[in-house]
């Protein structure tokens, strides 16, 4: 589904990603862990197409298509979803309006008929129940005045509405209390299928208790330095990242 080959990227002139290689197949859950500043969020943003990040080398294909040939909105419509670490507020734009536009843009892209207002509301009710989002939130402006936890739940709700092929969750667990973490994780687990894939970007093993990954990768100084199964996360939790640094001979 996603094939990253020797990817280099910089932000504000500084090299952050230095040769990432990663392949994600349908049905898989990958966790990307690593210390602060290792490039985890950069990788997420580069894949989604944020203009602050400049790709200097390498290739990324998504469903066989060159991702760098696609504008960010086209990548989204191709099925790439980023759950933001810091979702922005858009004052005055109602969640309903925002999501209806987004859903119908996706449908148009797939040559499907746009949803009527009634059908859209029905879909929204179903997905709200699924991810247990407070029904009041969708009556408000996009993320405006939402608590940290509400913002993250709202991201998962949007993911449920858009049904992406590949979901990248950028530190979705940060700032969540234990109940919110459970709700968010349940949402992600429910949306998982053999046809889609998930990349979890996280600092902590905690999230992986709830969303069990098939692969864990350690990102360090812009490269994936270690990949293994879910047991790697536990090892990291026990030994800390210093263990990896030592292993690398630093």
């Amino acid at each position: 589904m996603l094939v990253i080959k020797d990817l280099y990227a910089k932000v504000e002139g500084k090299d952050i990603l230095k040769g990432i290689n990663l392949t994600v197949n349908a049905g898989e859950v990958h966790a990307i862990m690593g210390p602060n500043g290792s490039g985890k969020s950069t990788l997420a943003n580069v894949l989604a197409g944020h203009s602050n990040f400049e790709v200097t080398h390498g290739s990324v294909t998504f469903n066989g298509k060159d991702i760098f040939e696609m504008s960010p909105d086209v990548r989204a419509k191709e099925g790439l979803f980023l759950s933001f670490q810091y979702p922005v507020e858009i004052p005055g734009v109602s969640m309903v309006n925002f999501l209806k536009t987004a859903v119908n843009e996706h449908r148009k892209y797939r040559n499907e008929k746009e949803l009527s207002a009634g059908d859209f509301l029905k879909l929204m009710r179903e997905k709200k129940a699924m991810v247990q989002i407070d029904s009041q939130l969708t009556n408000r402006s996009v993320n405006e005045g939402f608590s940290g936890g509400e913002k993250k739940k709202n991201e998962i709700f949007q993911m449920a509405m858009l049904e992406p092929k590949l979901a990248i969750l950028d530190e979705t667990d940060s700032g969540l209390d234990i109940d919110a973490l459970r709700i968010v994780s349940n949402g992600v687990n429910m949306l998982k299928s053999k046809d889609n894939a998930t990349i979890l970007v996280t600092h902590y093993q905690r999230l992986l208790d709830y969303i069990v990954p098939d692969f864990v990768h350690v990102l360090y100084e812009g490269r994936i330095v270690k990949s293994a199964g879910k047991e790697l996360a536990l090892e990291l939790e026990a030994k800390g990242y210093d263990w990896i640094k030592k292993e690398l001979g630093e």
């Binding site: 989604a48 197409g49 203009s51 909105d73 979803f81 979702p87 858009i90 925002f98 536009t101 207002a117």
Partner: protein, 498 residues
């Protein structure tokens, strides 16, 4: 403005907004000014230039009573002694008043029994605008007094209104049939010597609309007039007078489109509103005159004087406007709160792009006790444009417990535009409470990226963000106007972010 009214009024509000949002998104690809066409209607014009003789000709052509001619001449003589105001944050090219035709009327001035009698070219113009009159009648339930150039061509729904004693007609007709009302109220809110452009308008105005709502009457429909500048090189001087008698209510809609052309066109309208005891007048404008091309060539010069007087106890006047057009906008819809407990509001969205300049705002003059005014101004600047808010809040010595709340927000797109705020506050009574809040923000790249990531294109994202920013004001507009306004904001910003 364009006049594409949504026709399915009986569907739920939500559905219309949603459906229309999508239509809106589809239409974004249109690049050129949509209503830039000149219709070829026979026009009866007089020679260029301005002098007393011209004013006498205008008055004679309109078959006006003596008091009107006197009003015009007095205004003209006053105008000659006045200078063009230069305090606004505007660069205005010199205007040669001797190069302007001050009167133009479509040649068919007869009253039509049916649309078949109307010049087909004129009907086609309406079609291009999306408002064939018959369709308007049937579908929208909005009475339309359509003005092409300066003379009313057709008035609809008059009968329904007449049953309730409501007068809604062209200004010329009002002068003929209701001279007493005209004589009593004309120039009351905007005296002839009020300002340079008001004096000019008072001297040469060609036509406009007149509304009278009798005591205790609620006008059953939104009243609406479309102004359209049509004949080449013709200054447009509209005059509107709205009188709401005791305990009455009316909502009035004004919207404009203009054909594309190169020469600058002067427009100096005057709108006067008189609200008597407990009367409520809501005046909504969506203005989309030709703003000039991307390089600042052409476009309308819009120097408008709009003022309402809350004459009675607990009168209410609301100005709601969405301004996206004109090369230059000089406009301050204002209220004089004379009666005790009267209420006034000014809600405005002014958008400038390319080389447009706008200096717009309001004046709230508190004279009566317990008077209350609210100002919400949302400026949006893009391209190389300049967008200024200029507002005055004055509390007279006797205005016990007057209250004003002002909120002035500016939104900037890009680095080449300017936004300015000039609030003036004069308080003569210590029991009054005045609040002023102002913000300036830039449209965030992160907001756009967030929308992108959900599958929304950059252009649509900007439209959405700007509409969200302006929503507070747009929500004050009557529903069909709100839909129109959303579209306009989006279309007006096309290509403004690279």
């Amino acid at each position: 403005m364009s006049v594409l009214f949504v026709t399915g009024i009986n569907s739920s509000y939500f559905e219309i907004i949603m459906e229309d949002q999508n239509k809106l998104l589809n239409e974004v690809t249109q690049r050129d000014y949509r209503f830039g066409f000149v219709s070829d209607i026979e026009t009866d014009t007089i020679v260029k230039g301005l002098n007393e003789e011209v004013i006498r000709i205008i008055s004679a052509k309109k078959d006006e009573p003596e008091f009107m001619l006197e009003f015009r001449l007095k205004a003209y003589r006053r105008w000659l002694t006045m200078k063009m105001p230069e305090w606004a944050q505007l660069k205005v090219p010199e205007i040669d008043y001797q190069d302007i035709i001050f009167y133009a009327a479509p040649t068919q001035q007869a009253k039509y029994e049916s649309l078949n009698e109307v010049d087909p070219e004129l009907l086609r113009t309406f079609e291009k605008l999306g408002i064939p009159l018959e369709e308007q009648k049937m579908l929208s339930g909005v009475a339309v007094d359509a003005v092409i150039d300066s003379v009313s061509v057709k008035t609809t729904f008059k009968e329904t209104l007449a049953e309730r004693g409501i007068i809604f007609c062209s200004f010329s007709e009002a002068v003929k049939h209701h001279p007493d009302l005209i004589q009593k109220y004309l120039g009351m809110a905007v005296p002839i010597n009020d300002n340079y452009f008001a004096a000019l308008n008072s001297a040469v105005f060609s036509d406009g609309s007149f509304v009278y709502i009798p005591k205790g009457t609620r006008c059953p429909m939104e009243l609406s007039t479309y102004f359209r500048i049509n004949a080449q090189n013709t200054g447009q001087f509209e005059r509107t007078l709205i009188i709401a008698d005791d305990d009455s209510y009316v909502s009035y809609l004004e919207g404009c489109t203009a054909p594309m052309r190169d020469e600058n066109q002067l427009h100096a309208a005057v709108v006067e509103i008189i609200a008597l005891n407990r009367a409520e007048v809501k005046y909504s404008t969506v203005q989309n005159w030709y703003p000039g091309d991307k390089n600042g060539k052409g476009g309308i010069f819009n120097f408008v004087t709009k003022r309402g007087i809350c004459m009675g106890i607990a009168s209410k006047i609301f100005w709601n406007q969405v301004e996206t057009g004109s090369a230059i906008t000089w406009k301050y819809p204002s209220c004089v709160l004379m009666g005790d407990n009267s209420v006034a509001e000014f809600n405005s969205v002014a958008l400038t792009n390319n080389y447009q300049q706008a200096d717009t705002g309001t004046k709230m003059i508190h004279i009566g006790k317990n008077t209350k005014s609210t100002i919400v101004s949302k400026g949006i600047s893009a391209g190389h444009s300049s967008n200024s808010y200029r507002g005055l809040v004055r509390v007279a010595a006797k205005a016990e417990n007057a209250r004003n709340y002002s909120q002035c927000d500016s939104l900037l797109l890009g680095d080449s535009c300017g936004a300015h705020t000039f609030p003036y506050i004069e308080v003569g009574n210590s029991s009054s409470i005045i609040e002023h809040e102002a913000t300036t923000s830039k449209i965030g790249e992160d907001q756009i990226f967030y929308c992108n990531q959900r599958g929304i294109s950059t252009e649509d994202a900007i439209g959405m963000i700007v509409n969200g920013y302006a929503r507070e004001v747009i929500n004050k507009l009557p529903m069909e106007f709100a839909v129109e306004a959303q579209k306009l904001l989006q279309i007006s910003l096309e290509g403004s972010v690279g």
